[in-house]
Symmetry: C2
Subunit: 331 residues, 2 copies
DNA sequence: ATGAAAGCGCTAACAG
DNA sequence: CTGTTAGCGCTTTCAT
């Protein structure tokens, strides 16, 4: 282990000067700088991050806490966040909770928060009130809506409007029996609820009656649940001629279920998803979906943390990122 | 900020005792422990990780460096690695390089390596020799084969054998014009080459001639490239009746290309992929693929790092994880 | 422009 | 079983 002082001795200067060179400060004579740099290279010096962090009181680390790294939506979001954060000098630490309340709490209140300067948190189970009341000083920004607009920074998309557009599109295509898949009654997270609201609103606008037997709950947002839910809908007395799924994964499962039932998409059943994951673009048929502006989501979240760390103590705000409906073959 | 000494004062004990409680050491009277714990809770004390890391000389962090977090294979591997590492008390920091040589080098030699105790590295561009000659003392384990068996720990699967099994399966199904998609001549990484080798070997075993016009190179492992490569193969004078793709993403792109050409899978063209990503299980038709044992890969990689950190200085070894051919509808 | 030295918060060797 | 204290490597105030 080569220390700063080793470099100083080797270069015949004080540690102060070496530190100045390492941190690229001004007020170092070009000649001195060159000599110090030569010593750094020769000795293979690398700053000890733990010592630097301790001294500076910052780590340069951000945590991105998501339910599942391996769901396409979150892995895509993570990739963008890491990329954008890197450009701003941050390192992102990705954690997964599986939506488990205990793990969400642990990451929220636990030791991890001492390791990072800020947290981008996508909660599933922990209710908004608890999020608002955390004692920790580490800035946090939430992804996704939470009922009651608590005093915590949020980055959201307009889920009600997006769902309304998606279902409105199915109405415009002449569908008259439109189901929804993805209701999640047990979650603290309000996203599914918002999409259900938009679904109902679009039906109402079209003069259609919302029917609870066409609002299918799911235990997860994965393909298997979409498949199961769609199969049940198709087995019902009045099967739907269109379905709006609250995630693309659910939609791809539903798509598969339609095929398994010997029917065709979109001829017999039109399918619309949500998230715009890559799989949907190459599915057979290609999936119509709502595409949230993920780059904007990542950028807004980082912006919030940067501002808070810079001392911004204005009241917490809700930042809304854009979205658009992408119509493809499945509808 | 509540410090260890604040808790000590509050509880009326020394910092040594508080530290003992925090780190769950023995030799603390139950009575004292309870009192200290009460103070910790009351004051909301959280250990300062930077200080702890500096003192201990370890950070408890591992880096998982992959080309793309958002490709299904790597995001799945990342999720497993994080989960398994967590059980062993590690925190995993995920980095992406986009396969870019400069970024791979930066993560390999740069300051990041001072932040973590060990590195799991899945290189694309940096050649094996360079990996072997890095000066850094941080233990590293590579994912994927590299020609020349350099003195660095590896975790691999038997790609030659796996590819041979996949293509052998197509032969057994009676296919006679079997193409390969996924050749990557420019990469330092030998994985694609190994799979090509297995492909050729299976053809040789079946008495078929390998044809370079049926070994399609790609610029990436994504769907779009699979689509493009398959379209070109189908447009050739003697289109194949089967294709072995070096990733499921390529295979799903190829699948789509077959459909776009007005043909059917597997009737006209059988398709086999590699990786066993979830999309493939719900594709239409479901994708036949080679499934690497990802849990074992993650476990072996962590095992290597744990051993190296514990002082194991035996020569670097190659650890081989299992795989199996999963036959589904596409073949 | 450079040097000397304090101290960030914690762990663990040493002492009792 | 508990207390005292040195020092991990770095940044930065103060002095020159």
């Amino acid at each position: 282990m080569v220390r700063l002082s080793d470099v100083a001795v080797h270069a015949g200067v004080s540690v102060r000067t070496v530190s100045n060179v390492v941190n690229d400060f001004r007020h170092v004579a070009p000649h001195t700088r060159a000599r110090v740099q030569a010593s750094i290279d020769e000795l293979g010096y690398r700053p000890n991050m733990a010592a630097r962090n301790l001294r500076r009181g910052r780590t340069g680390l951000l945590a991105l806490v998501v339910p599942e790294i391996d769901s396409p939506y979150f892995s895509d979001l993570a990739a963008r966040t890491v990329r954008i954060a890197e450009d701003e000098g941050w390192t992102v630490l990705i954690d997964q909770t599986d939506g488990d309340p205990a793990r969400e709490r642990r990451l929220l209140h636990g030791e991890r928060s001492q390791l990072v300067d800020g947290v981008i948190f996508s909660p599933w189970s922990v209710p908004a009130q608890e999020l608002a009341s955390r004692s920790d000083a580490t800035p946090i920004v939430l992804l996704g809506e939470h009922d009651g607009a608590p005093p915590v920074d949020h980055v959201v998309i307009d889920n009600v409007r997006a769902a309304e557009e998606a279902v409105g599109h199915l109405v415009a295509r002449g569908r008259t029996a439109i189901a929804a898949i993805g209701v999640r009654p047990t979650l603290g997270n309000a996203t599914a609820h918002q999409r259900l609201l938009g679904h109902r609103r679009a039906l109402a606008t079209a003069g259609m009656e919302p029917r609870s037997d066409r609002e299918a709950p799911v235990g997860s947002l994965h393909r298997a649940e979409g498949h199961r839910a769609m199969t049940e809908l198709l087995d019902s007395l009045e099967p739907p001629d269109a379905v709006f799924c609250f995630s693309d994964q659910l939609a791809l499962g539903a798509l598969r279920a339609v095929v398994d039932a010997g029917l065709r998409v979109p001829r017999d059943v039109a399918v619309v998803g949500f998230d715009d994951i890559e799989d949907g673009r190459y599915a057979v048929p290609r999936l119509t979906t709502v595409s949230p502006d993920r780059d904007q989501i990542a950028r807004l979240a980082l912006q919030v943390l940067r501002d808070r760390l810079a001392g911004d103590d204005t009241p917490a705000r809700v930042h809304t990122a854009g979205h658009r409906l992408v119509v493809r073959e499945s509808s």
